[in-house]
Symmetry: D2
Amino acid sequence: MNARTDLALESVNAAKISEGITKTERGKAFKITEIKIAEDKHGEKIGKKKGRYITLEGSPLSNFSDEFKNMCTEFSEELSQFIPDGRVLAVGLGNNDITPDALGPQAAAKILATRHLREELGDEDEFLSGLRPVGVLASGVLGQTGIETAELIEGLMEKINPSAIIAIDALACSDVNRLGKTIQLSDAGISPGSGVQNKRHELSQDTLGVPVIAVGVPTVVDMHTIVEDYTGKAVNTDLPNMMVTPRDIDRLIERSAAMIAAGINMALHPQLSFEDIEAIMY
Amino acid sequence: MNARTDLALESVNAAKISEGITKTERGKAFKITEIKIAEDKHGEKIGKKKGRYITLEGSPLSNFSDEFKNMCTEFSEELSQFIPDGRVLAVGLGNNDITPDALGPQAAAKILATRHLREELGDEDEFLSGLRPVGVLASGVLGQTGIETAELIEGLMEKINPSAIIAIDALACSDVNRLGKTIQLSDAGISPGSGVQNKRHELSQDTLGVPVIAVGVPTVVDMHTIVEDYTGKAVNTDLPNMMVTPRDIDRLIERSAAMIAAGINMALHPQLSFEDIEAIMY
Amino acid sequence: MNARTDLALESVNAAKISEGITKTERGKAFKITEIKIAEDKHGEKIGKKKGRYITLEGSPLSNFSDEFKNMCTEFSEELSQFIPDGRVLAVGLGNNDITPDALGPQAAAKILATRHLREELGDEDEFLSGLRPVGVLASGVLGQTGIETAELIEGLMEKINPSAIIAIDALACSDVNRLGKTIQLSDAGISPGSGVQNKRHELSQDTLGVPVIAVGVPTVVDMHTIVEDYTGKAVNTDLPNMMVTPRDIDRLIERSAAMIAAGINMALHPQLSFEDIEAIMY
Amino acid sequence: MNARTDLALESVNAAKISEGITKTERGKAFKITEIKIAEDKHGEKIGKKKGRYITLEGSPLSNFSDEFKNMCTEFSEELSQFIPDGRVLAVGLGNNDITPDALGPQAAAKILATRHLREELGDEDEFLSGLRPVGVLASGVLGQTGIETAELIEGLMEKINPSAIIAIDALACSDVNRLGKTIQLSDAGISPGSGVQNKRHELSQDTLGVPVIAVGVPTVVDMHTIVEDYTGKAVNTDLPNMMVTPRDIDRLIERSAAMIAAGINMALHPQLSFEDIEAIMY
């Protein structure tokens, strides 16, 4: 088991496990791999719960791409499978003051909040009032707030009564070829800060009672993992280690947050065109 | 009644009311006026609930001042009267993307969150574990989140179980001489966005069950009010109107947020010196 | 004479002068007024040098507008008249840390710098190498740098050898109906900080030897002027005064900087479409 | 020769050269190593010109340190040796929009600009008028401006007539133990972007006619170098490579820029105390 990745694809590959695990490939704009873990016990060895884990691999998300619309669309289609009808709560996890950890807050800032429109607009604007009700939360981190993200969400469940939660977070990976080039989607929930900080309360169907769809991009890797990835040999763990992130992390966060937010907006509001969504987001 | 001020002092003066209302003056670093409204009915005419409203008036909060420490200390002493023992939840209201409305989020970012320290540190660091538990929330605004601040706080009451809430918000005033020069403190609660947007759910002891201490600085005034303030005459309300803010609003927000956060930290943690608090805040 | 406006239109109207001054109107997306001052002596009374001053008035530039493309195009066409063939130096004046003064730096950040492309790309990319050479400078302010903008530009004249300079700056106005709703274009040069600070060295054809095209948006107004504008009567100048700016100044700066940069890019590179320019700017 | 470091200490160590090169150690708050290269020919093999290269190594500059004042003071003392009497131009190199490259602009923003004070204040404030005249420039990068930093500075030489230039830039290193923990000082000048981009025009006494004192902190390292540093073996250069930076790069830039600016301010204005300088900087 390799503890230093949040990507199920990497854990499954590294551990060479197969019992109760299936792998399917597809995709155009991205190379898409879907891993299905049948039961918790099958994923135990790699610390992954049962569920579907979809990895979209492509070119660096920090670069401008002519394929942007196609990438957003394909991501949005993959995401749509997981989203039931009804109200949704979108949560951006992570720390906006630490660039490699700011994916969640930056994406949340571009997700359309619509939950208040029905009450505010009523019959005045039937189109806007008819949009699926979405609440958006950027949660801050425990050290800054003294409040766990799980507590914030639990406190809102009764009020918002969502049929699903979408949680966006920055991830760690172990293969440097996936750093900044990959989106992972999963219905198995998330533990905020699992990749980069102490374990926090889990956000999952078990703890919140509704599906928790996790969306993430690997933005960090540690130096030992880099060395192992290049050499295929383990590093003496007594040697100092450090989490690093690509030099162009500012653009990576900006562009991948834009792609994820666009894809989420498309999946939540299929009646809006890509162009409508772009116009509203900027 | 003048609807265009959030300062009780201005409303009371403008309406020339006195029944059930007392006014006391004190202060060194600031000119401090305390207004006490005995019952809701006494403040009805000016739209203010019963409670204590303390106004601290001084030189422009946007300027560097040699008196900074004294001002923080005096503000902190006034605030201390309102704060019971026990856990506190501090909430920054307003929109961080609109500079004149960013006082709440900016101040919240400098308030020490300590609620998690006891569990995280335990006996490791008795000093830090011994600090009063404080949770901090910067709430976002309804249009960005689809979630009312009141809903967020209500959802947290059971989990945090605070003995008081401190809510920081930017205010409107009617006397341009108070714009950017005044702090108002009150135990009468607050309606987020009352000064500058649509009415939202009230945050008060009535709605939340614990004292809600409101702290604010007037950062906006409307043009009609400016004209009335200079000329003493009402403006034809058919003429266009516009909310404005001082040209040096960036510095006003930065420095007044620092003063308010320092004063709150001092009031909540009297065992810390001003210098300790400055060092932690930066 | 009214010293508190940078708009020639307002000065001419207020002073009711006409000798040597012509006024023409046109425009679709904007109401456009062109004022021509024949000789320096004709504009002396209002502190304006000879030259053409074009004012584009419309709806609030801070609002999203369906007319954005048309407004950019019309502004770009007006600007094109002033721009000779050859190299251009674009300069953003003002202070990026003071939101109402950040128009220049924010617009400069979105102007395409192309001067280095010919040398860097050569025959590799004939299209990019064929673009008009443009250098871009965001100058900072004297108090932060100890260096006058005029010094910086003079130092570059020999190296860049531009055939014209475009200087973008935030302005003051006297009619609150023009605040945040107007663009002024002029070939009469500019004195950095004239609207809001001490007089600085002039940037003009006289001082730099090439046309200096000034582009600005009024973002501030002082309180005395507001009162005079509403009441038609002078304010006792002994009363305190203060520069103010609209509450939505962040959006005003963001959107007007985007419009001005788009218009400048279109005027400098007519071979690029509006859509190309939008794509490069974001 | 190892091209992937900007630290002379690392190049000298790696190349095991000694002819014409001396090494001295000292320091309290930092471990300080001074390397002196007698003639250009002695440093040719490692791509370093003749001059003095001082490396200050310590704990992570991104962490809060009780030793901050001592570290600033020791850095300031080392810097003082290089600074002649008279006017100084300080230049922040790099790109403020790319966090690991923002050291120069961030430090420049905290260096006191005093060159204009004499003219502005005259006899009004003899203390401020008596400060050494300092001009400050944050240069932007060629791709954003189309203007080489060297051109900007050359254009100002005649106007400012400085007796020395201080140039601050982010660096690359090859030993991960120095990443974010080291300051390099040198009188051998600098080539902007040498660590992380294409070669640009050199800034040095040869090109500008006055001493150019370079100050830098290593903020990036490439993955191949990490692997070689851990394993002692060369990486197949056909394998993909990537520049990376520590996960806490935001704090590293903020705190190291503050230390460098404080040290520069202390060295330029010895009549000001550390406390005075701290007060002015914030």
